[in-house]
Symmetry: C2
Amino acid sequence: MSKEDHLKQAGLRTTIPRLKILEIFSNTEHKHLSAEEVYRALLEEGDDIGLATVYRVLTQFETAGLLQKNMFGDNKAVFELDSGVHHDHMICTECGKVQEFHNNDIERLQIELSKNAGFQLHYHEMNLYGCCEQCGSKKSGSN
Amino acid sequence: MSKEDHLKQAGLRTTIPRLKILEIFSNTEHKHLSAEEVYRALLEEGDDIGLATVYRVLTQFETAGLLQKNMFGDNKAVFELDSGVHHDHMICTECGKVQEFHNNDIERLQIELSKNAGFQLHYHEMNLYGCCEQCGSKKSGSN
DNA sequence: TTTATTGCAAAACCTTTGCATGTAT
DNA sequence: ATACATGCAAAGGTTTTGCAATAAA
């Protein structure tokens, strides 16, 4: 589906800011971007789009299911393209890198635990914080 | 250990605000409190303690290991007494109730997955969002 | 032409900080 | 007496909102 179709389907008009923002998420090597980062990426491309618009578009995209919002404890939201496939995150506290992972056994246990607690599970977030492979080897190398 | 001893051990002087805040966490039925909620609880008891002090004390207590800080996606931190025993949370998105849980199989899988990814796991947060037993039965009852 | 979208500035919200005053040791 | 804590008000960072101007349908 084209970016335009994505927007139409979400009931959103095709506008420059929306197309550009969608493009940024499609092209960036960092899949997880904060509003500020999206804003700066737009500026770097010479696009004159207000920060308020970025926030509005990100929220609309999240509502439309185009983006997924995550809080990684740094008090600011980061967004990523919503692939439709659920996954969780490993966040490197040294370099900020985010890796995705998925594990069926954990998911199954979460459902089971919820059921046992009389809890209707709608969704979850699981964030593992630590040191990624690159940062880990850097540190042990320098010791 | 007495509350005073807790403070002394943390290198913190024994002051009214600190004792009162510790007391609130010990006595409340809601274990998970935001700064604002602590502040209001103090006001209700007639204690005239500034919000800035509440924030400072909460941060100091967290650093000292007396309190544990959690972000439940609502963009504001909630604190609970740090029992020293790790647990995760189920959060009711209807009434806000927070239940704690712990599962060794999940913890083990998290460690295993991290190892396989070359990731040095330091800590994690796992939050299950949904509908607690009470709210769930209320809803099905009214349909 | 009608309705949605944008930009800007202002405000909202949670949290932190500077500084003078007050308090524990 | 000294070093630490507090209160207040101001400022910080992220996010939202009011409103007039603009652009998509």
